[in-house]
Amino acid sequence: MAKILVVDDSSTVRDEVANFLKTNGLDVATAVDGKDGLSKVKADPGIKLVISDVNMPNMDGLTMVEKIRGELGNASVHVIMLTTESSPSMKERGKAAGIKGWIVKPFKGDAVLESFRKLAA
């Protein structure tokens, strides 16, 4: 089964999203920031979807996605941002990096599941 990586520096959000996905029968891993997320995507080819925050210490979510694309040349990993940010310039940067979805917090499970189903279809 494809694995989902949840990347967020907030353990509150990380736990909430991961628990929600697990209760919906999905295989989930977590990372505490962009740097951690990047290393986990590199190490685990089973990760097919990344749900990531934008504002994080060490490495932000958009930089992480750009590195996933640039360093790995990996277009098979879909990325959805789950963030408080909604500025057009950030969304444009995300789209340029191949981000597939942008969900504004607070976390609503239905939105993530809907995105996941559309991407899996």
Binding site: S10, S11, T12, V13, N55, I80, T83, T84, E85, S86, S87, P88, S89, K91, G94, K95, I99, K100, G101, W102, I103, V104, K105, P106, F107, K108, D110, A111, V112, E114, S115, K118, L119
Partner: protein, 323 residues
């Protein structure tokens, strides 16, 4: 909720003849008068009561000496609070002993309160806060609190202006707010134990919740409010002020005191989250301190939709289009 901001003032004036006039003045000028017994004055001042100013009568003490002594002690304990002196005949401080004069910011008489009105505007309501901003902050925060404390009911008091700098509770967060029209901080302050009890009741973990769980929760609440504030009032970061000016923030643990390097009054909101099953309550103080820049004439809302409706609209189409 009314759009009018209020401010709490400590009225140290026992003159029966003037009490009605002072109360009427407070009602008309958005002031909430608080009284305290003389023997409890210092302990109250050392606690957090979110004051805007102190109205002090020149016959509050039993003698002129005691009056001066009390005023000096108040100023020593809470130097950030403006003390406004009520005098019997003249509305000036010119003939007040020089060592005592620095303690008071202004004087007024009960027979002419027009001068007091100017003092209140100068020392308490000196910054203009747009109604749309005040209302929007309450809406945003209520939605965020509802999302993070799903089993609790959120209520909030009329927003008010404070001058005091005493820290409430045991844990607080700070996050910068940067835009073309404001630069400063949002601060959230709360107590640890009620949040621990709520976490243990509704998100139980082996061994019980720890202070780190409280920190994480407060951090996420702060982050969500900050994000919604940016989305609603700031827009693209590129349009925000590029000024790099900063001032040090001073936190004195011993006196539970925080300074942002300015005497500007702060915009304060108090939210009370109640567990209707147990009666357990969490108090959350939210303060906005625009200490680096404040230009309300340039304030604007980016989107007119309410925060909650935008949040739900994001759920209907979360995928980005490829156009």
């Amino acid at each position: 909720m009314t759009d009018r901001l209020v401010s709490k003032v400590l009225v140290l004036d026992n003159h029966p003849e003037h009490q009605d006039a002072i109360k009427r003045f407070c009602d008309e000028h958005g002031l909430v008068p608080l009284k305290v017994r003389k023997n409890r004055l210092m302990s109250v001042l050392r606690s957090n009561i979110d004051l805007g100013a102190i109205m002090y009568a020149d016959d509050y003490g039993a003698s002129a000496e005691e009056n001066a002594e009390i005023a000096l002690r108040i100023h020593t304990v809470r130097p950030e609070l403006p003390i406004i002196l009520r005098r019997e005949t003249v509305a000036t401080l010119d003939d007040v002993n020089e060592s005592l004069r620095r303690v008071f910011c202004a004087a007024y008489t009960a027979s002419d309160m027009s001068s007091l009105s100017k003092v209140i505007d100068e020392y308490i309501f000196s910054l203009v806060y747009p109604n749309a901003l005040v209302r929007g902050i309450s809406e945003i925060t209520e939605s965020v609190l509802a999302s993070q404390f799903k089993n609790l009911t959120t209520r909030w008091d009329t927003p008010y202006i404070v001058r005091d700098r005493v820290i409430f509770g045991e844990v607080f967060s700070l996050i910068p707010l940067e835009s073309a029209w404001c630069r400063g901080y949002m601060m959230l302050q709360t107590e640890e134990q009620p949040i621990l009890e709520s976490l243990d009741a509704y998100s139980p973990r082996e061994g019980g919740a720890s202070f780190r769980a409280v920190n994480n929760l407060l951090g996420e609440v702060t982050n969500l409010i900050w994000g919604a504030f940016k989305n609603r009032y700031v827009g693209d970061a590129a349009n925000a002020s590029s000024s790099q000016i900063q001032v040090p923030l001073i936190i004195n643990h011993k006196h539970r005191y925080i300074s942002f390097g300015t005497e500007n009054p702060q915009l304060c909101f108090l939210y009370t989250l109640t567990d209707e099953n147990t009666g357990n309550t969490i108090r959350l103080y939210q303060r906005f301190i625009f200490n680096l820049s404040w230009s309300p004439e340039d304030f604007k809302e980016i989107v007119n939709l309410s925060w909650s409706s935008r949040a739900s609209s994001n759920c209907s189409n979360p995928l980005l289009k490829d156009d």
